[in-house]
C-alpha cells in the first residue's frame, strides 16, 4: 500500500496540471475579492473568497486524468501488475486526490488570511459573531469542513465516471454539468413535484451539490428542502455508494 501511495503522489506532484489548478483557484479568489471585497467582506472570509466552486473545477481537471491518462498510454498495465490488487490501486489514487483536496483547502485558508490583511477587502473582526451564533473564524473553519464533504462527494462522482468513460473530455464535461447545473436540475425536480413526490425527490444526488452553499446561506434550505444535517448524511452516503460503484466498474474493466 505505502509504495502504491508513494507512486501516486510522485506522479501527481510531477504533473504540470496539479500546479496549474491552484493558480486557477488563486485567480478566482482574487477576482471574487475584487468584486465583493467592499460589499460582503464577512461572507468572503467565511467562504474563503467563494472558493468552493473553483476548487471543484480544479479537482475535476486534476482528478479526471488520474485514470484516463493511464488508460490512454497503457501505463495502467504496469501499475496493476506491480500492485497486489486492484483495490489498492483504486484506493491509493483516492487517498492521493483526497489529500490534494485537503491541501487546496488549506491553501485557500492561507490565501484568505493574507488577502484579509490587504486593502482588497474591508477590515472585519475575526472574533465577532457572524453566522450560526459563532465567531467568523469558526464559521470559516466549519465551512471548510463542510466543503471537504461536498468536494469528496464530487471526487467520488469523478472517480466513478472516469472508470466508466475513457474519454477524459467527456468525464470533465459531465462533472462540470453536475457541479454547475446540479443544483438547478435538482431544484427543477423539486419544484415541479412540489406536492406528491418531493418527499422522495429531495434525496436525489444532484441536491447534495448544494451542501456548502446551504451552510453559508441558510435561505437555500427552502430550495433543497433538506436540513443541513440531512444534507451531510445524504452526501456522505452517496459518496460511499459512488465510490463502491466506481470500484466495481474499475474491477470489471479490461485493459
Amino acid at each position: 500500500m505505502s509504495s502504491d501511495l508513494y507512486r501516486e503522489f510522485f506522479k501527481l506532484l510531477h504533473r504540470k496540471v496539479s500546479w496549474f489548478a491552484p493558480l486557477l483557484v488563486l485567480f478566482m479568489m482574487l477576482a471574487m475579492g475584487l468584486s465583493e471585497g467592499k460589499s460582503q467582506p464577512q461572507l468572503l472570509i467565511m467562504t474563503n473568497f467563494a472558493s468552493s466552486q473553483v476548487i471543484l473545477l480544479a479537482l475535476v481537471i486534476v482528478a479526471s486524468s488520474i485514470f484516463s491518462m493511464e488508460f490512454q498510454n497503457k501505463a495502467i498495465l504496469n501499475v496493476l501488475y506491480r500492485s497486489p490488487n486492484k483495490f489498492q490501486v483504486f484506493f491509493s489514487k483516492l487517498i492521493v486526490i483526497f489529500i490534494y483536496n485537503v491541501a487546496l483547502h488549506l491553501i485557500t485558508i492561507l490565501v484568505t488570511v493574507i488577502l484579509s490583511l490587504t486593502p482588497l477587502i474591508d477590515k472585519v473582526s475575526w472574533t465577532s459573531v457572524y453566522q450560526h451564533h459563532q465567531s467568523l473564524l469558526l464559521n470559516m473553519f466549519a465551512t471548510v469542513g463542510i466543503d471537504l464533504i461536498t468536494s469528496t462527494f464530487i471526487i467520488s462522482i469523478i472517480f466513478m465516471i472516469s472508470c466508466m468513460i475513457n474519454s477524459n473530455a467527456v468525464v470533465v464535461t459531465v462533472n462540470m454539468i453536475i457541479i454547475f447545473m446540479g443544483a438547478y436540475v435538482s431544484y427543477n425536480f423539486l419544484l415541479q413535484n412540489n406536492h406528491n413526490l418531493s418527499g422522495i425527490l429531495k434525496w436525489n444526488p444532484f441536491n447534495m451539490v448544494n451542501l456548502t452553499q446551504q451552510y453559508y446561506n441558510n435561505a437555500m434550505a427552502s430550495d433543497t428542502k433538506l436540513s443541513i444535517e440531512q444534507l451531510i448524511i445524504a452526501t456522505f452516503l452517496y459518496t460511499i455508494l459512488f465510490l463502491f460503484a466506481g470500484y466495481a466498474i474499475f474491477r470489471k474493466k479490461r485493459f
Binding site: 507512486r7 510522485f10 506522479k11 510531477h14 504533473r15 504540470k16 498510454n73 497503457k74 501505463a75 495502467i76 498495465l77 504496469n78 501499475v79 496493476l80 501488475y81 506491480r82 500492485s83 497486489p84 490488487n85 486492484k86 483495490f87 479490461r254 485493459f255
Partner: protein, 294 residues
Amino acid sequence: MVKVNNINVFMGKKHIIKNVSFQVKPGEIVGIIGPNGAGKTTIMKTILGLLKFTGKVSVADRNVTEDNHRALSKVGALIENPAIYPFLTGLQNLELYTEDKNSMKTVVKQLKMQNYIKSRAKNYSLGMKQKLGIAMALLNNPNFVILDEPMNGLDIESTILVRKLIKHYAEQGTSFLISSHILSELQKIMTRIVIINEGNLIINKNIDDFKNINHSRYKLLTNNQKESQKLLQEKGMLESQSNKYLLVNEKNIFSIQNLLYKNKIQLLELAPQQIDFEQLVVRSLNKKAEEDEI
C-alpha cells in the same frame, strides 16, 4: 518458476486462449511465437493477473489471480508499448518502481542510458523509450521477466546489448518469457520454444529438440543418383527428393552408407538438411492447419 496450467481466456463471447499449459524453469528463456492476433500478448497479460481467466497460473509456487498479485513481487514486464509517463524523466520513471537505488543505477548502466536518463521521457526517441521499458522490466533483480517484442525499434548495437543482457540475467537464474516476430533474434537466445496459433498451444519444446525435427533429415548426393534412388526405394528408406538430392532419415544413414558401398556407388555428399528456422516455424503452423482440416 512459472507454471501455466490449462488457462482459458474469454473476451466477451470470444474464446481467445484455449487450454494453454506450459512451464518456465529457472534460467530458461522461453520464446513465444505466433502470427498477429494469436494471443501472445493475452497470455502474458494473463500471467500478470491483468485479465480474468480460468485455469491456474503460479509464479514461484504462489498463485496469481486477477485480484491477487502478491506472487508477482519479483516479476518484471514490458507489455506492447512501454508504459512511460511523458512528464517524468527516465530516471523518475524508474524510481517509481525501484526498491533499491543501486539496482536502478546498475540497470541504467547495463543498458547504457546514462546520457539521457535525466531528461524528460516525452523527448525520447522510439528506441530510447523501448530501452527504458526494458530497464523497468529488469529493475529489482527479478526472478521472472516478461518481454513483449523487446527488440522493437532498437538499433543494432542495442539489440546486441539487450541480447547479452538477457543471457547474463538468465545465467544468474532469471527466467524469461519473450515474444518476438524477429525469429533470427529469438533463435539466438531462447532455450525453449512455444508456438501459439489462434489461441492454441501447438508446440512446446526444448529448442534443441525442436531443431532436431530438422536434423532428422539428411540430404544425399552420390555419383549415381538414379541407381541410388532405386536401391533406397526398394529398402523403403527414401523419404523424398529435393532438387538433385535424395532425402533420408537420420536413423538410416549408417545402413545407407553400407548399402551404397556394397553396390559400388560413391558417396559425394551426406549432410543434415538445412531448413532455416523461419521455414520450420511456418511449417509447424501449417501442419497444425492441415490437421485441423482433416
